[in-house]
Structures are given as structure tokens and as C-alpha cells.
Amino acid sequence: MLNKRDLILIAALIVIALGSLAIILLNIDRPETGTVVVRVSDQVEAEIPLEGNALTDFAGVFGPFTVEIRDSQVRIREATCPDQYCVQQGWLDNTSSSIICLPNQAVIEIKGEEQLDGVSR
């Protein structure tokens, strides 16, 4: 069913995917403290410090959603969007990734503090 070239393609894809995954995971930064940036339609709605426990409500393009911060992690706790991908995505704890809610056009990212003290590290 799979010819030789199909198998080469699969092997090449695995190498590319695992290689880029290794690069991403080796450079991942999970800051203890930092800032959570919430954007809706490319507008910065809020910059919340990544500390303690906090619940914040936002108005997205589709409807309201709730952002929860706990243990240096952030997630969309609730949203009214139909697909619920953003809620299922769960907790975000690093600066490489982001939580995206397409119907709400919302993006949540973590900014670490090493932008300031990167030299001293």
C-alpha cells in the first residue's frame, strides 16, 4: 500500500517534526512570574500579573469568556464560543505557546520577566 517513496516521505516528516519539536522544547521558558497578555481583535485588553489566583472576565467578539490564573499558569476557564477549543486547550505555562479562541478572536500569551534581566542570567 505504501511504496518506497511514501515511506521516505513519512520518515522525512517524522525527522522534521521531531527536530522542530526538540528545538521548541529545549528553548521553552516556563516563568514563575511574568505578565499574562490578553488580546481581542489585535487590541491588548489586559496585562495581568502571573501570580496568585485570579479570575477575569472579558468580552470577546463572539461572547464573554473568563481567564483564570493559578500556580503560574493561565487558562480560559469558560467561554461561550461553540467549539470550546480554547477551554479544552487547558493550562498554558510557557512563553512559546498561546491560547487562541478563534470565534472570540482572542489570544492569551505569557510574557516572562527575562526580557528585563536576561543579561544577568
Binding site: 500500500m1 505504501l2 511504496n3 517513496r5 511514501d6 516521505l9 513519512i10 516528516l13 517524522i14 522534521i16 517534526a17 521531531l18 522542530s20 519539536l21 521548541i24 488580546r39 489585535d42 467549539d83 477549543y85 480554547c86 479544552q88 486547550q89 487547558g90 512559546s96 505557546s97 498561546s98 487562541i100 478563534l102 470565534p103 478572536q105 489570544v107 500569551e109
Partner: protein, 182 residues
């Protein structure tokens, strides 16, 4: 457009639509946003292999348009992301189908990979966050089993000649099914 071609393409579009609907019914327990099996790609690849690339593009675009109208996502970011992914998947599959490099399974995997690349680029441009690229390696890895899954029916249909379409088809004696006689 000949009636026969119109009917065949309509049937393939209906298959693509129903596969998109079935996919929407399946539970999505994946932690990676945008991860899907890509069932409608089956109809697109079948069209490329049996009829032609131009017709496959037509079906792909009409499918994305119809699905967006049915699910109410027309002109929203998810529509634009689907569109970019769909066009890139079609382009990669029809380009490599012409080269005769890969079999149906390889083409299906390639289509899935380029669908994900297109979606990620569109999401990056629309949402303005490089965080979307974080998921791309996972999506490429998932493309392999999902591409094989959607490619197997195409492989069976294509290699066993279960679905034939000839541009210059005329009446043959072996066509004793009265429903397909001209």
C-alpha cells in the same frame, strides 16, 4: 459542462460535504487546537486522481464555502484558515500527483501536512501570535496516521478501479446497468 461531468462532480461535492459533517459530529478530545482527521480530503484526492486538479480545486472551494454557510462561519477567521489550508492541501496534492512520486497514501499525508501548514500560517497572520507555530510539529506528526486513514479508501478505490471517470466515455456493452447508459 457535460451533464455526466456535472453529475459526477456534484456527487463528489456531496461526499466531501457529508464527510465534513461526520467529522464535525466526532468528539474532539485533542489538546492541540485545529487537529482534525481531515475526512473531506478523501473526496478531494479522489477527484485529483480520477478527474483532474482543476475540478478538485472547484470541489474543495465549494465544500469550504458550503460548510461555512451551513455552520455559520462564513468570512470569520476559521473560514479564512480553512480556505488557506484547503488551497495549500489541494496545491501540494495535485502538484505531486502529476509528478507520480507518491502513491495515494503519500499524497494524502502530504495534503494533510500542507493543510496544517496553511492553517498555521493563516492563523499566525490573523491572530498575530507566533504561538501557533508551537503546535505545528504535533500537527505534522498527527498528519501521518490521519493522512493514512483518509488515504486508505482512496487507495482501494483507485487501485481496484471502483470509480472510473473517462472524459470521452461512450456506451460499452459491459455497461448493462440501465441507470448509467447514455
Amino acid at each position: 459542462m457535460k451533464t455526466r461531468k456535472l453529475a459526477t462532480l456534484s456527487m463528489l461535492l456531496a461526499i466531501a460535504l457529508i464527510l465534513a459533517y461526520i467529522e464535525a459530529l466526532l468528539p474532539q478530545p485533542y489538546p492541540i487546537p485545529g487537529m482534525k482527521i481531515g475526512l473531506p480530503n478523501l473526496a478531494i484526492l479522489l477527484t485529483i486522481l480520477t478527474i483532474g486538479s482543476k475540478e478538485a480545486l472547484m470541489i474543495s472551494l465549494l465544500r469550504i464555502l458550503s460548510v461555512s454557510l451551513l455552520f455559520g462561519t462564513f468570512l470569520t477567521p476559521s473560514f479564512l484558515i480553512s480556505l488557506t489550508g484547503g488551497i495549500l492541501a489541494w496545491a501540494s496534492m495535485s502538484l505531486f500527483a502529476r509528478q507520480d512520486l507518491f502513491g495515494p497514501l503519500g499524497l494524502s499525508i502530504l495534503g494533510a501536512v500542507f493543510h496544517n501548514i496553511g492553517q498555521t500560517i493563516a492563523a499566525f497572520m490573523l491572530m498575530g501570535t507566533a504561538g501557533v507555530f508551537y503546535f505545528l510539529p504535533w500537527l505534522i506528526l498527527a498528519s501521518i496516521p490521519f493522512g493514512i486513514l483518509t488515504g486508505i479508501p482512496v487507495y482501494i478505490i483507485h487501485t481496484r478501479n471502483l470509480f472510473q471517470y473517462n472524459r470521452e466515455r461512450t456506451y460499452h456493452k459491459e455497461d448493462d446497468d440501465p441507470s448509467i447508459q447514455p
